[in-house]
């Protein structure tokens, strides 16, 4: 369980870090930047007007996606303080709905052209939503690992 938690946190750190690393690499003319931008393109539209700009280049993920990655990382770091690493308990549905509401409303309002509160707001809604996601991901992972261990344990 500790290994699963550590691996998830390292992946979350890498995903958030690499998104911020891409513009720095691009500013130095590194060929790695193109690979990073291409990798993030699988799950992000990368519209430059929706991305933060660092070192004169857009971040590899849009403001909202970057917020989700950083929120996920923050959730991973807080997780051991809020839950046992051996528990597969997930948050209550109302908590998920509550934390998803800002992001859902902002996405809907952006699509319907009701408001556009900028990348800072998109980033914030992403952070809020991303924060709760590790509480599901790690619970699922823990459940799988513990059941695999229980399956392997010889019955007496």
């Amino acid at each position: 369980m500790v290994a699963g938690y550590m691996a998830t946190t390292v992946v979350a750190l890498s995903v958030a870090g690499a998104a911020l690393l891409a513009p720095w690499l691009a500013s130095r003319g590194s060929g790695l930047a193109a690979g990073l931008y291409h990798s993030y393109h699988q799950i992000c539209h990368q519209n430059p007007s929706r991305c933060f700009v660092l070192f004169g280049h857009p971040v590899a993920a849009c403001g909202r996606c970057l917020g989700i990655y950083i929120g996920f990382l923050a959730g991973c770091l807080v997780y051991p303080l809020a839950r046992s690493l051996f528990s597969a308990r997930v948050p209550r549905p109302r908590m998920f709905v509550l934390l998803s509401l800002p992001l859902g409303l902002d996405v809907l309002a952006n699509m319907l052209h009701l408001w556009d509160l900028g990348n800072g707001f998109r980033f914030s809604t992403g952070v809020v939503w991303g924060f709760i996601l590790p509480f599901y991901f790690l619970a699922g992972l823990t459940d799988l690992i513990l059941r695999r261990l229980a399956f392997r344990r010889p019955t007496t």
Binding site: S39, Q42, I43, C44, H45, N47, P48, S49, V53, G56, H57, C62, C65, I68, S84, F86, S87, A88, R89, V90, P91, P93, F96, L133, Y136, F137, A139, G140, L141, T142, D143, L144, I145, L146, R147, L149, A150, F151
Partner: protein
């Protein structure tokens, strides 16, 4: 568990195919991580009610991961014939807006963007296709697994202690024994 895993294949394939289709079509493919997460959620809801009641968080993760992989495969295959259509859409509607925005913000547009607008569409190589497929499978599996766990938690009215929790509880109680 093995019997249940077999029952999970069909919802995973259906939800994965739908997500793969939506993730490859012009316009709908800009919805980022929504489709794999949504596919994970949908797959759990497609599982028959009597089986769904017994799903634990780990089952949701497995179902979601299977859904994500099938979504990535469907998307990868559909992208081959749809790539020209996507490029046409991007060239006509999206890239000119991007070029304007980049030039207005005083930056130098990437050379690739100019090449594409001038008609030089970079062709995808076979290793590139498989790299993209592998990357998408990993990313989609992770996101859809998340969707699967979320759906399992949402479909349960009152979460009973899962097998994992029971196992942990029994581990703890055995620690206290002399």
């Amino acid at each position: 568990m093995e019997e249940r895993t077999a029952e999970l294949w069909m919802p995973a394939l259906i939800a994965g195919a739908l997500a793969g289709l939506l993730a490859s079509l012009p316009l709908t493919n800009c919805c980022c991580c929504l489709w794999p997460i949504g596919a994970g959620l949908l797959a759990v809801f497609l599982v028959p009610k009597e089986t769904r009641a017994f799903l634990a968080a780990g089952d949701g993760a497995v179902l979601g991961a299977l859904t994500g992989i099938s979504a990535a495969v469907v998307r990868g295959l559909l992208m081959i014939p749809l790539q020209p259509l996507n490029m046409l859409f991007l060239k006509k509607y999206v890239f000119p807006l991007l070029l304007d925005w980049i030039e207005q913000s005083g930056q130098q547009p990437p050379s690739q963007l100019k090449e594409i607008l001038q008609g030089e569409i970079p062709a995808q190589t076979v290793p590139g296709f498989f790299f993209d497929l592998l990357l998408a499978a990993v990313v989609f599996a992770g996101l859809a697994a998340l969707g699967g766990v979320i759906a399992v938690s949402l479909t349960k009215k009152k979460t009973p202690p899962s097998a994992a929790d029971e196992s942990h509880a029994s581990q703890n109680s055995s620690h206290h024994q002399p």
